[in-house]
């Protein structure tokens, strides 16, 4: 059914149940918003999107008011504009508005709003009570002085991730958004997925910036600085640098990183292929020798943190494989160091990841294959590498395409799709199917495990036995999978879990403004990358086979075990 109304005296016809906000947008009027975010719940807390409805006493929030037949809406009367300005000025009066000294400068929704509303001066005196900054973890920094209490971080943490670390404390103007007991954000509760930093409209939750450390080391002649790039970055960095969502920038990305001064630019896709070989063999071993099933993937550090903190009883189900990032670090400081005859202590490994939890993962004490030396030295998010490229003045769009460096440059389509939900599962199935059934797959595309549905299922024939597998993304969905296992009700043999919506393409370290629309664009691009690769199965990567022949021996063997596998520890608090 269609509904007819007037917005600013213009006739508007929209489907029923449309909000005034969306109806106005359909007729080319953008009503300003602040707490509203496309994929989150509508709280109508901030009141910025208020409009006048003729015949109604107060102002109504357009984000939460549904159109009605005959309604007359005025979106920009002096009364409405004054209300919006007043709210914004009040927010600014209680905000650390030193905008030019803020990571979100020119990327801040409050700043943009003040600009759109034409706020040239603030009628209110500054009342900000300065509170301490929380930087007590390796991933995220909370600056309560910039928080505007919009509630997006609470919503994403509570409802999308089901973790619920952040909640409002106190009441009225004393409200702060905080972990329980007013504590710092640490691994006691937080998984460091960073979704809160992704949706924060201001600079109140941001990643721990490590760009300065990378600049320093790039200009240190004693250091051999190499970089690895995660699968999802090739379809998201373009967006960070002003291109369309999902633009594939693999070749330009390599050129850009060379311009910054990295000696070698490697592809985490290589160790994603390696992960498939190790994890695939681990799965086959568990299935054939009566090992613990279902086995769950372990590439995602947010998921690992979640399992260690909230589901310690299911840790035996996690694959013992390190993540591709950590496998890369381990090989860089052993295999690569030996091959190039470089002292591992001088090798500095930087990762470009769509993720804030990867920063935590890299700092885990067990992640050092050589003495007193972590395998991955610094992890930069998509946003941080974008920042460095802007600092460098790189004209990204004009760069030539360059190939990744050897020996970690040749990869397969299977590795590329690690960056989306369902990708690791599909990559694993391509390999496990062929190893077990000893015949090539007819179709490489496992459509059942693709797409944005929260939990996906598929069945595969492995050696005459039908095996059920599942794919879950977001921690709220991972929780359902974990509960099934805890209660001995899991019908699956193998499960992929990615902590962020859409997998790494929707990671907490990706460009600001990530929505389900941009996630879909990035996801589609990764499958385009996959389809265009000459090799699409990890076990056909000739350099992986060479790595085993020259260095590792065989999958799951002694050296592989030492370098590529790890153990998990229960964090006992929640038992």
């Amino acid at each position: 059914m269609m509904v007819n109304l007037k917005i600013n005296n213009i006739d508007v016809t929209v489907p029923e149940n449309t909000t005034i906000l969306d109806a106005a947008k359909a007729y080319n009027i953008s009503i300003p918003t602040l707490c509203y975010y496309p994929d989150l719940r509508i709280n109508s807390d901030c009141r910025i999107c208020s409009v006048e409805i003729v015949g109604k006493k107060g102002l109504s929030t357009s984000c939460s008011t549904i159109v009605q037949e005959g309604m007359q809406v005025k979106t920009h009367t002096p009364r409405v504009i004054n209300a919006r300005k007043t709210i914004t000025e009040l927010l600014l009066a209680n905000h650390d508005a030193d905008c030019t000294a803020c990571a979100k400068n020119m990327n801040c929704e409050l700043q943009k709003l003040a600009n759109v509303l034409g706020i040239d001066e603030n009628r209110f005196e500054r009342v900000l009570e300065v509170r301490p900054i929380d930087d007590h973890n390796p991933s995220l920094l909370r600056n309560p002085n910039r928080c505007i209490k919009c509630g997006r971080c609470i919503d994403v943490c509570r409802n999308i991730q089901g973790v619920n670390v952040l909640e409002p404390l106190n009441r009225g103007h004393e409200i702060i958004i905080s972990p329980p007991f007013g504590k710092y954000l640490t691994d006691e509760f937080c998984t460091f997925c960073g979704q809160c930093s992704s949706v924060c409209p201001v600079g109140a939750i941001i990643e721990k910036d490590e760009t300065a450390a990378v600049w320093n080391v790039l200009h240190d002649p004693q250091k051999h600085v190499i970089v690895q790039v995660a699968p999802a970055i090739r379809v998201s960095l373009g967006e960070e640098l002003g291109q369309k969502a999902g633009t594939i920038v693999t070749g330009k990305l390599v050129s850009a990183l060379k311009l910054l001064g990295f000696t070698k630019v490697f592809d985490t896709d290589f160790t994603a292929d390696l992960t498939i070989i190790e994890e695939g063999n681990e799965l086959i071993k568990r299935i054939t020798t009566g090992g613990v099933l279902p086995m769950i993937t372990s590439c995602c550090p947010g998921w690992i943190n979640f399992a260690e903190t909230y589901y310690p009883e299911i840790l035996d189900h996690l694959s013992s494989c390190k993540s591709p990032q950590q496998m890369f670090g381990a090989l860089a400081k052993t295999y690569y160091a030996q091959k190039e005859n470089i002292d591992p202590a001088t090798i500095f490994v930087v990762s470009i990841m769509p993720c804030t939890a990867k920063k935590y993962e890299a700092k885990r004490p067990e992640m050092g294959s050589t003495e007193n030396n972590l395998d991955v030295d610094v992890v930069l998010t998509t946003r941080e590498i974008g920042k460095m490229l802007r600092q460098m003045g790189v004209e990204f769009e004009n760069l030539p395409e360059t190939e990744f460096d050897e020996p970690f440059g040749k990869t397969t389509g299977a590795a590329a799709i690690f960056g989306t939900t369902g990708g690791v599962m599909e990559a694993a199935l391509r390999t496990v199917y062929e190893i077990v059934n000893k015949k090539p797959l007819e179709s490489l595309d496992f459509m059942e495990v693709r797409g944005m549905e929260g939990i996906k299922e598929a069945s595969v024939n492995l050696g005459g036995k039908i095996v059920k597998v599942a794919v879950a993304h977001t921690l709220a969905n991972a929780k359902k999978i974990a509960e099934q296992i805890k209660n001995n009700e899991s019908p699956y043999a193998f499960i992929e879990v990615m902590c962020c919506p859409g997998g790494c393409i929707g990671g907490g370290g990706q460009s600001y403004g990530t929505t389900s629309k941009t996630r879909k664009d990035r996801l589609a691009s990764l499958y385009t990358v996959d389809a265009a690769m000459p090799l699409r199965k990890s076990h056909e990567n000739p350099d992986i086979n060479k790595l085993y022949a020259d260095f590792l021996g065989s999958p799951l063997a002694k050296l592989s075990h030492e370098l590529l596998h790890t153990k998990y520890k229960a964090k006992h608090r929640h038992q």
Binding site: V163, N164, V165, L166, E167, P168, L169, N170, R171, S178, P179, P180, F181, G182, F189
Partner: protein
């Protein structure tokens, strides 16, 4: 009464959280709930610790900070004000040596403000724990405080 036996009187469902917290705190001399108690309560009602902290910090009757054995909540709404509640507050402050939001060093009294107690026709009023006192005068306040002090000793 132990925490366990107290909360088990309520169904293990989040909507009973506020009631259980209030009753448990009333039964405790320091009118507060500790971190380890919150951990247990959260588990029982199947909510996160963050949620319980949020609820406790929202309601002024609930507290993570230990309070005195007797919590005096004085009304600061208009009818009490025009009936000289300021002199009542002043008497309390002088006799107890504390300001609103503080607790006496012996842990006996905490002084707090409250909203209207519904006793406007008998203003000024305050509450001590769950007892309401009305038509207050400075002399009456002194007598009430002595009573509570004696009760303790």
């Amino acid at each position: 009464m132990t925490l366990e036996s107290m909360i088990q009187k309520y169904p293990a469902s989040p909507e009973y959280l506020v009631e259980a917290l209030r009753d448990y705190q009333m039964a405790k001399n320091d009118h507060s709930v500790t971190e380890s108690e919150i951990v247990k309560i959260a588990k029982y009602f199947n909510v996160t610790e963050s949620k319980v902290c949020s609820v406790v910090s929202f309601y002024s009757f609930l507290s993570e900070k230990p309070k005195g054995r007797y919590v005096i909540r004085i009304c600061r709404d208009v009818p009490c004000f025009v009936n000289k509640s300021e002199s009542i507050l002043k008497t309390l402050e002088t006799r107890l040596g504390i300001k609103p939001g503080e607790t006496t060093p012996d842990g006996l009294f905490t002084l707090e403000y409250t909203g209207c107690l519904g006793q406007c026709d008998h203003a000024p009023a305050f509450r001590i724990n769950d007892m309401t006192y009305v038509d207050l005068t400075p002399d009456k306040v002194k007598a009430i405080l002595s009573e509570y002090r004696e009760e303790k000793s």
